[in-house]
Symmetry: D2
Subunit: 296 residues, 4 copies
């Protein structure tokens, strides 16, 4: 099997390595010549056997749109594009339509695993036509973790299903992280009583109900910095968490923990909270409670 | 009518003024001689006609306990103690029992209105024996706002009912404040589109569904400081908000907005969030996402 | 002043009545001949003096789109369309563009007040060009509540600002309602202690921090049905609540109470909760805890 | 090593089996003669070598109190009581004090693992004096999972630390379960797009960020009932979840996901929601929105 791979950043670069280790031939293109195998998308396309398979691994949104448009122009009927980035599932429908007009097939692939995927393999959720999914199964098998295929890979439905599953995966991920984080704060707060916070997390790794991979990562983090004093409580969020809430709202699905998780991230990035200024102002107005004057 | 009043701080002092304006005789005691009418509780008691009525208006908790203990020793059977502070309703049961052993009656009175109560009157929620509530009705009538009695006063039940009602009142208050505050932040955030945030709040005062006294106070606050830039988003909370959550948990009542309001206050007082440090650490571990290094 | 009014349902019909009472001439059109003044939009347009003013009061979304399209075709340069429905503020930008191509002006007007607006007047938040806002001020003055103009009306900014303000208004409204509702449940739950739930709400109407118009409505509801036993806890939600969350997410504004309010409504409409089935299933798996078998 | 074990229910019974499999001698007492090794606590005590070790595995609260009181009377100085039940950490301080007066030592042990502990071992979090913890380490080693000791056991601090850690563990557990449950509902809701919900969860078991033991249990549950149609969304909660919130409130720790999880359980058990009745009543009052009449 020989595929093209556009985007050789942290994720794409590792995936190329893992694919090659599994004897999948990869011609990778990236605007950065230091990591690229070829000097252009055209050169990459020319190198691929037909029907071609091109895996796109670039940031979701405008960049993915541009790459898909270019591929729609340059590929041929029967070829296949796989979007492995973090695209919104509604974008997939658009991409699929644009490619379908040229007779090109499309698969959306949600990919989980982060920097650990290189060694552990990547969890894969894909949507698209069954025949194409089967044709490129060697690629999925090379990327996914060892073990039974259905424990690290799912063909979840038609186009869009893969990124929908990944979106929900990330929504869950946000809430799981927040859950452990609240637990961390509760343990830290009573360090008068509970003397060994890192040891407590460490001891939860076997036998308990809360054991998980995220817990293991928290143990690693606490091994490196036992009270996290070197790190600031400032957390970004990405599109998938936000889309999860939007999709929940649109479908009347209550998601109190996922939304609480994303709101906590919003707050973590604020120097001062306009909302809490308003609450402080109200308390001052009705109760004569002192307010803190801003230093700005 | 002639009553004793222990505690002449911001609330108690205003209440004395309002009572006297309604021709209720008040002998007030406070440890601060600048505001006290008498030099001791004994002197205050000696000045009161029997059966005596003593209104206690001191901070909830230890101080209230101490005052009630002193009154239990010094008052006589048939006398009445009214606790108008922000005591926990479970404390009322304790106070009532201690006083009852001496034949002294007890009423708990939840009082709302803040610094505005002097002019507007105070919303009153009381619990206790009907005959005593009726005996001191002139006091309640003097303190409550003008208008029909049942729109500013309720005899809500036996001892404890007044402070229970006040506790729930404050829980609601927290969530109302947070609701307006979230709206403020939403309006501020799109000041590119919505050019007049203070004017918008001002315009909500008549005809809209969200009109309220708190809204009027927010309009006042924005009149003084139109973007609240002079105030810090740092908000204290008091016992009653916390007790509301505890009581909700104990009785399996879901209170998502009240709890969200109190959590927002907790966060507002944190220099850095241990929980969000943990989330940042987790993101770094699995995704190699950059973290902000603490400057400490 | 003489305006056209499209849509004579509960809101539009009442607004026509209020406008006429203020000596604004109104030619109303509605597909329902029982309430319509004319038999067609064309007839309505023909009746209006130039430059014409047409107030649109139809359900947001597809129907508003259709009406605006029709007016774009049939009105003339210099005319004005006011959308007083609950449109999304992003739709306003679209409507304004379509009308602007024909030289027709556009104002978006958020209208609050419900069935009470007929008597009390409607809170108005408008966006659009200043000259047109000033030209039709007699209409706004007729619709808004008595009292100072700026306490019931705001020109909040350019096109879209009116509906943005209304959207946020409704988001706040959701959270305010939920706050009182949580308080109601807390009071009800301890009716062993607090004997008079309706009386407690009634007594909050004067002097307290939580007094508001919504509180007065809850008092009315409890007057009619003192424990709300005749009503089911099933609550719809409308677009504006959902858009508030979407807008908050898009702008990284934390809205924990508004989102909690909308999630509570989602849950209220579920016969059974898929999420809680999953939690029950998990508890059963790890703890052998009994589950309730579905009766379906 | 030879210990006494009071309480041979689902947890205690399995623990006896696991201890004996590790060559720890166990004399178990339970009021149920079918499972008890002896006919009385006295007989159990008489069978134990000194200094005696008695592991208490009974429901938290009143029953634990009674058992501890009995042991305080019947054991001798130098003996040790271990409470392995789900007691509140504040109860531990009381129990420790009562036993200490008789010279008896006390260890609190939080135990996680549910019905799986028999085979997998139990995660253990203990608090108490170091010398006693070391003396009974063979017992902890027998109960904990295979692997490094510190990945399934922690001596977290003085008396109370074990149950505090377990309380926080359970709070986290609630939120983790809710996170997966919200994800399940999101996937189910779009089964038009995502055709294989159980397969998606199954595929998350390897390589993904959300892999965990709870996820594996959900996969098992979906293997048995692929849409959970046989199970009702009705979920109990236990003391530890509630105490987590209380402790958070008392220490000003924001716990939005843990509280959301427990509130979701509260709601799941309500036939109708008083709060949502109030919201429905309010909507009806201001907007004339239809309400559902209760069928009761």
């Amino acid at each position: 099997m020989h595929i093209g791979l556009i985007g050789l950043g942290r994720m794409g670069g590792n995936m190329r390595t893992r694919l090659r280790a599994a004897d999948i031939e990869v011609t990778g293109y990236d605007p950065n010549p230091d990591v690229s195998d070829v000097t252009s998308v055209d050169e990459m396309i020319a190198a691929l056997p037909t029907p071609r398979t091109v895996w796109v691994m670039v940031p979701a949104g405008q960049i993915t749109d541009t790459v898909i448009e270019e591929l729609a122009e340059k590929l041929e009927p029967g070829d296949l594009v796989i979007d492995g980035g973090n695209s919104k599932f509604t974008d997939d429908l658009r991409h699929d339509k644009a490619l379908d007009e040229k007779g090109i097939d499309y698969i959306d692939a949600g990919v989980s695993g982060g920097v650990w995927g290189l060694d552990n393999g990547y969890g894969l959720m894909v949507g698209g036509p069954t025949d194409q999914v089967e044709r490129v199964m060697p690629v999925f098998d090379a990327l996914r973790p060892d073990g039974p295929r259905d424990e690290g890979f799912v063909h979840a439905g038609e186009v869009g299903a893969g990124h929908y599953a990944k979106m929900v995966h990330n929504g869950i991920e946000y809430a799981l992280m927040q859950a452990y984080a609240e637990g961390f704060e509760l343990l830290e707060k009573r360090s008068d009583l509970l003397k060994d916070v890192p040891g407590t997390f460490k001891a939860w790794q076997r036998g308990t109900v809360v054991r998980s991979w995220l817990l293991e990562l928290l143990v690693r983090a606490l091994d490196e910095d036992d009270d996290l004093s070197e790190i600031e409580g400032y957390v970004e969020d990405s599109g998938e968490g936000r889309w999860t809430i939007e999709e929940a709202i649109m479908n009347a699905v209550p998601v109190p923990t996922i939304s609480a998780s994303i709101f906590a991230r919003f707050v973590s990035r604020q120097d001062d909270s306009p909302a809490m200024k308003a609450v402080a102002a109200l308390r001052h107005q009705f109760g004569g409670h002192a307010v803190k004057k801003s230093e700005d």
